[in-house]
Amino acid sequence: MSVRVTIDGQEIQARSGDNIIDVAAQNGVYIPSLCYVKGKPCLGTCRTCSVKVDGSVMAACTIPVREGMEIEVNDDAEIVDMRKALVELLFSEGNHNCPSCEKSGRCELQATGYEVDMMVSRFPYRFTPRVVDHASKTVFLQRDRCIFCQRCVDMVRDERTGKKIFSIKGRGTHSSIEIDAELANEMTPQQVRHASDLCPVGCIIDKTQGYDDPIGQRKFEIKSIKDRALEKEHR
């Protein structure tokens, strides 16, 4: 069933039940997100896809479109700044040092930082000490960079038993990402690559892969995260 909604004042047709991120992308409007993966159940953790729906702030990945919805993505200065603030908050909460990071150029957080025009975080940098976990043979867990998106927790499972390989320990600001080293050792190279690609930051690092692509030829340098997000829709 088809519904009519407006995005930044422009009226568009959309399929009922599709979420706002997908509908916007189908119509050429990019909404940043660091946890949503198209085709997977929405996680709703990063909130960087926040938009205004009929005047209220909502996470676009969590909301299915409804007839008559008025969605503001870029027309409202406050919501644009809120998305930017959330990205900045992530940079100050963890320890993100892009120039030395293996994921630089392939990192969704870094790429999104560029998209939202972030220069520096407005929040005080915390420099929280976080410990690297290198116990598994396949994966470095660089906890400095974890943004707790939960993609790996929900979407990476042991292929034989279906058990969780990644999990969260503790709660709130005391949380940490954990890896079951035994199960991680059983991961195939393809699965390790999948987990590392799924990670929107440089937290899950494939031990066999380093700084593979030269500067200038890295993933988001060849094509921006925005273009990639929109292009998937037009394919």
């Binding site: 953790t45 996470a59 299915p64 707790f148 279906g162 390989i165 320990k169 709660r171 600001t173 954990e178």
Partner: protein, 602 residues
């Protein structure tokens, strides 16, 4: 495999949705949940060990390391701090012989903090091994710890007359009820539950019950005020192989304790409300989610449920009708966020208490994916009175949009803290007189997540859903109290209780707390106040659940009501330097260092 863990697993048929119960059983047997036990549980449940830890480490009272034979948790609320908390804390450290968050050398005691444990009318209070001790003083602490050292159990000390823990007298021996008002709707003694239910089932089809509740205009007492009749109507309409009724007894909002008193003085009102809900929405299963802090009510409540089974009010055929309903108790383990209905459901399913993404709402897809009506303890108790006395009797009380009465848990600076049943429409000033507040300045209603009131400005406002929509917590502070320190404590509370799943609440909450600390330290500027406001709006707008959206409330509301207390703390810019930079202090270090060196030289 240890036979203990094995028997725990088989007790719950290795059903991983019962992980909370299994963790409690293991901890109650072994004192803590060892790595070995975690592995055994994980193997039995076909989960990874870290997956079990995911649940375990989420909850304050689950222990993955030994934490003493006796686990002592001192409640650290702002109300406790107004009543001698610091002296009691010191006494505990001294008597036990270790500092907080440690185990003493003998391994006899573990000493820790707890957020509000539902005893604000008798603080300072502490939990020791599932029992509580109230109105603590250093002398009382010395006595209790001394007796524990002599080998007595916490239960023997709190209940010296050895009253059976299934009796109301047992609860009375441990905590005071402090019921301050005559019954209007709630706490009606000597009700004949069997004939009330019999009459209800004989004369009403489920739709009639829903209609009655709708007509009474009963609204959820947890705070949101959702119409109960509408919720049940949606529950009836919702399709599912099973349906569930959950009583939310995870009363975690600091300053609230009405559910504790309802569950100890009118437990069967609540059970009857659950049966009515089950009948209305066509559910066979009820769950009471009881916070771990109320462990001392567990056996007593279990007995109340058993009484109902024995009398035929619960079971395969409730009072001979073709209606099946039974109730079980699910224990929580210390997580404020589980008061959110979807987090509570996750917890009931053995997982971390993380609020779900909504929609879908629990009434469509809740516990185990099935339609679930989650209702507050007080709402259910009210419902049981409505089916007895009728909708009109109930809606005659209160105001047009807020019918019936409201229980207030009153604490802080007043002569008579305790439970008050007020008719909706009562003003703040009337309540202040009722409770004997001598010099009230600031009142925090609905807990830290609620609103901050100035008695001077808000005195004539009414308690009702369209104005002071209070969830039952009411904390009073007089003119001697340090409001900024209270607000900082509330910010810390939200930081500690944030589940951490969404960015604004997890990360932004910490920054708001730091801002408060900066202002209290006298280093804040006008810009800090502006940032507090915009950052607060970020949390309010973008957080995933009510915890994050409410976390900035105490700051924003006190900024609005008491701007002068913030203003007088601010530093103003002098000269070209940052206002937060104190030139004299920065230079004084040099003089100090020189002086110290001179002294050493002598």
């Amino acid at each position: 495999m240890s036979t203990e863990v094995q028997s725990v697993l088989s007790c719950y048929s290795s059903d991983k949705t019962r992980l909370m119960d299994m963790l409690w059983d293991v901890q109650n047997q072994q004192g803590y949940i060892s790595d070995k036990a975690i592995t055994q549980l994980a193997d039995g449940l076909k989960m990874s060990s870290d997956d079990v830890r995911e649940t375990l480490t989420f909850y304050h009272f689950f222990l993955d390391k030994p934490f003493g034979k006796h686990q002592v948790y001192l409640c650290n609320t702002v109300i406790a701090k107004m009543n001698g908390y610091h002296e009691v804390r010191e006494a505990l450290e001294q008597e036990i012989g270790c500092t907080f968050n440690r185990v003493d050398d003998s391994g006899l005691f573990g000493l820790g903090d707890a957020n509000c444990i539902g005893l604000s009318d008798q603080e300072p209070a502490m939990m020791v091994d599932h029992v509580v001790f109230t109105r603590l003083t250093p002398a009382k602490v010395k006595d209790i710890i001394g007796q524990l050292k002599q080998g007595k159990s916490a239960d023997e000390i709190a209940n010296p007359d050895e009253i059976l823990n299934t009796k109301q007298d047992y609860v009375e021996a441990i905590v005071d009820a402090n019921l301050r008002t005559e019954s209007r709707v709630l706490f009606k003694p000597n009700r004949d539950y069997k004939s009330i239910l019999q009459k209800c089932l004989d004369t009403n089809i489920p739709e009639d019950v829903i209609e009655m509740i709708t007509e009474s205009n009963l609204r959820g007492r947890g705070g949101a005020g959702f119409p109960t009749g509408l919720k049940w109507k949606m529950g009836r309409k919702a399709e599912g192989a099973e349906k569930y009724v959950i009583c939310n007894a995870d009363e975690g909002e600091p300053g609230t304790f009405k559910d504790r008193v309802l569950l100890s003085h009118s437990p069967k009102d609540v059970l009857l409300g659950m049966i009515a809900a089950g009948y209305a929405i066509d559910s066979r299963n009820g769950i009471i989610y009881l916070r771990a802090e109320y462990w001392y009510l567990k056996d007593y409540l279990q007995q109340q449920i058993q009484d109902f089974r024995d009398d035929g009010l619960l079971g395969n055929k409730v009072l001979g009708k073709d209606f099946e309903f039974d109730i079980r108790i699910q224990m929580g383990a210390g997580a404020y966020v589980c008061g959110d209905e979807t987090a509570l459901i996750e917890s009931c399913e053995g997982k971390r208490g993380t609020p779900r993404v909504k929609p879908p709402y629990p009434i469509q897809q809740g516990y185990l994916g099935m339609p679930t009506s989650v209702n507050n303890v007080e709402t259910l108790a009210c419902a049981s009175r409505i089916i007895e006395k009728g909708a009109a009797w109930f809606s005659d009380m209160g105001t047009e949009d807020s019918t019936g009465t409201r229980l207030l848990s009153v604490s802080g600076d007043c002569e008579k803290p305790g439970i008050y049943e007020i008719e909706w429409g009562t003003t703040l000033n009337e309540v202040m007189t009722m409770i004997g507040a001598v010099d009230p300045r600031y009142v925090q209603i609905s807990g830290p997540a609620g609103d901050s009131l100035s008695v001077e400005q808000d005195g004539e406002r009414e308690f009702c859903y369209s104005d002071l929509s209070c969830n039952g917590s009411l904390m009073v502070f007089d003119h001697t109290r340090d409001i900024l320190a209270i607000v900082r404590d509330y910010s810390e509370f939200f930081v500690e209780e944030s589940c951490g799943i969404c960015v604004p609440c997890r990360a932004g909450g910490v920054d708001l707390m730091h801002k408060m600390e900066r202002i209290i330290a006298g280093r804040g500027t006008e810009q800090d106040l502006e940032e507090i406001t915009t950052w607060s709006n970020l949390l309010k707008g973008t957080s995933r659940c009510g915890l994050g959206t409410a976390a900035p409330n105490p700051i924003l509301a006190t900024l609005d009501k008491f701007p002068e207390i913030y203003a007088e703390k601010l530093v103003v810019q002098k000269g070209p330097l940052l206002p937060s930079f104190d030139m004299d202090e920065a230079l004084s270090a040099h003089e100090l260092a020189v002086n110290n060196l001179m002294k050493e030289g002598e």
